[in-house]
């Protein structure tokens, strides 16, 4: 840094031990051109390929299944009685390297019980313009609320449409599930939910 004017170039360390101009080197044999016959074989390759089965998949009409563990769109899962698994802890958002997830948690109240336990995810957004489908959010999720589906058709015409809200991400209500909010299964704690003791909704959970 002392003499900036001439330090644009790094001076080589010239060693006089070895004169590199006199170092022996061997000429490496280059493979060179192939024989005419070998070159003509290339024509046979392209010719015979014409009669082989094509690799193309006629995509919109034919949809080949993806690999089993393909990273597709996310899904927010539910407990077997319909309550959401998400507890609004934001670990997924913190784990996200692309800053694609936004979570706002809120407290469960007796008349608005969305998930077992104290907290639930009030706002849950994933921005698919940013998401890189790395799956770190899935690994971060403590309640297995967030998983990935095999769905890959994620194209749309506006930026806003590609920010998926909680409604878009929540899994469907299956048989035996009740739409939240509703009270927890009678006599069960959030630990029971976590351990999988709740198998289906209890009739008393239904809000008339």
């Amino acid at each position: 840094m002392a003499d900036q004017n001439e330090s644009n170039t790094v001076q080589p360390h010239i060693s006089n031990d070895v004169d590199i101009t006199s170092v022996a080197y061997e000429k490496v044999d280059q493979p060179g051109a192939k024989s005419l016959w070998a070159q003509l074989q290339g024509f046979w390759v392209t010719f015979i390929t014409m009669f082989k089965k094509v690799n193309t998949v006629q995509y919109p009409e034919v949809k080949e299944p993806t690999a089993e563990r393909f990273h597709g769109r996310h899904q927010l899962n539910r407990h077997p009685d319909g309550l959401e698994k998400c507890i609004g802890c934001e670990l997924c958002a913190w784990a996200c390297p692309a800053d694609a997830i936004y979570v706002e948690g809120a407290d469960n109240t007796p008349d608005n019980q969305m998930s077992p336990g104290e907290r639930y995810g009030k706002v849950y957004q994933i921005n698919y313009l940013r998401c890189v489908f790395c799956g770190l959010c899935i690994e971060a999720c403590p309640t297995r609320a967030l998983t990935m589906t095999n769905e890959y058709e994620l194209a749309d015409s506006t930026r806003a449409k590609l920010i998926f809200e909680k409604d878009d991400l929540l899994g469907p209500l299956r048989a035996g599930m009740l739409p939240p909010p509703h009270p927890m299964y009678p006599g069960m704690t959030d630990t029971n939910y976590y351990n999988g003791d709740v198998k289906e909704a209890h009739p008393s959970q239904e809000i008339k």
């Binding site: 006199s22 080197y25 061997e26 290339g42 024509f43 392209t46 010719f47 089965k53």
Partner: protein, 414 residues
């Protein structure tokens, strides 16, 4: 001169109609060949190719044409406006003009008039094709120059140098056909081939040279150096858009069809049937010859596509060396042989002399080629003087490693 006499009494309206038909055939063939090429190359790469627009994607090229026509027509600010507009027009018109002398059928009845499907039969028909091709180069050069941009200029220069160089080889390969048939008229050459064999067999070296130089002449892969995408963006037509670009596109494919048609006419017996199938020429009142003609043209077109699907692009200096140092000398030598054989066969008529001469020529060629090979080997085997051993450690080559003691180690590996 049978065709010329048949053509002579054609009324004006038939000539006009023929011109329109030739034009229409060229355009339709271009559209179909663009589709065919894309499908074939796709199959060679295990793809399907265009299959969406129309049945089997048949009108894909038409859709592309419409798209091109509807695009914005840009003229760069630095362009020479007049020349910029004229260039694609020259390119396209000269491409079509070559088709005027191609005999597409034998004698047929066309709207009650006995004629042949050939626009005109001039005694120097083949030279006329060369002339249109050489004017067509103007389109490329002027397009490159008038764009006012570096890449098009380089592409235009490359392309014209290439076309001119390969036109020499092409012209030389045609000379032996002229010598053998005694005519430069396309229809007489077709007739002359009926009397002997196809010139593709008789004059095989000429055929090979023509086939190579026609690829160079049309700027097609593997000789498509003028539009080498990795080096020159798009070559001479980089700055072109809309219909002007479409004209260049059209010209390229019409040129392919034209050189294929010339190859058919000169080397594969033109509109005549394959040997042994001569009776088919009478089918449909002689119109079946048209089908024979297009079968042969499409065969050449397939070769073009096959080349494109198989070979990578050549380096420019290698390409020029091949043209000037291989194709042209070989064709000159071959012309010498053909001319001598022709003189011997027309004067002395003795087979031993002919074959004796052929043998001598073969011996000389073999001698020259082996001498050349030897000199090459000698040049390659020059050993570089090696200096003293270096006084620092160098990693030994695999062949130099002689003893590796492994018995004491790795006992736990099992």
């Amino acid at each position: 001169m049978k065709n010329a006499q048949l053509l002579l009494d054609d009324p004006g309206w038939i000539i006009t109609l023929k011109a329109v038909i030739v034009f229409a055939v060229c355009v339709v063939l271009t559209i179909m060949s663009v589709w065919g090429e894309r499908r074939l190359v796709a199959r060679m790469q295990m793809r399907v190719g265009p299959n969406r627009v129309g049945k089997f994607g048949l009108i894909q090229a038409l859709a592309d044409g419409v798209k091109l026509a509807l695009k914005e027509d840009l003229i760069p600010a630095a362009a020479d406006k007049v020349v910029f507009v004229i260039a694609p027009i020259i390119s396209a018109t000269t491409a079509f003009m070559a088709f005027a002398v191609m005999p597409l059928t034998g004698p047929v009845t066309f709207f009650g008039e006995k004629t042949v499907m050939q626009l005109t039969d001039i005694p120097v028909g083949v030279l006329y094709v060369l002339a249109t091709a050489s004017v067509g180069v103007y389109g490329i050069v002027l397009a490159g120059w008038s764009s006012g941009s570096t890449y098009p200029l380089l592409g235009g220069l490359r392309s014209s140098a290439q076309v001119i160089s390969y036109e020499i080889a092409m012209g030389l390969s045609l000379v032996s056909v002229f010598i053998y048939s005694g005519s430069m008229s396309t229809s007489s050459i077709v007739q002359a081939q009926q009397e002997t064999w196809w010139y593709g067999l008789v004059l095989f070296p000429s055929f090979v040279i023509y086939a190579i130089s026609m690829v160079g002449e049309t700027n097609r892969a593997p000789f498509d150096l003028a539009e080498a995408e990795g080096e020159l963006v798009g070559g001479f037509h980089t700055e072109y858009s809309s219909l002007k670009f479409a004209l260049f596109f059209l010209a390229e494919y019409v040129n392919i069809i034209a050189v294929s048609a010339l190859a058919t006419t000169l080397f594969l017996g033109g509109y005549h049937a394959f040997p042994g199938l001569g009776f088919t020429e009478q089918w449909l009142g002689g119109w079946f010859t048209l089908i024979w003609f297009f079968i042969k043209v499409l065969f050449f077109f397939f070769i073009f596509v096959w080349l494109r699907g198989t070979l990578p692009r050549l380096r420019y200096d290698q390409f020029m060396q091949f043209g000037w140092k291989v194709l042209i000398p070989v064709s000159l030598l071959w012309i010498l042989v053909v001319a001598t054989l022709r003189v011997i066969s027309t004067t002395s008529q003795s087979r031993p002399v002919t074959f004796g001469f052929a043998g001598v020529v073969v011996l000389i060629v073999l001698g020259i080629s082996t001498a050349f090979d030897n000199s090459k080997k000698k040049r390659d085997s020059v050993v570089h003087p090696t200096a003293a051993e270096p006084n620092f450690a160098v990693p030994s080559l695999p062949s130099e490693i002689t003893t590796i003691n492994v018995s004491n180690q790795g006992g736990d590996r099992g």
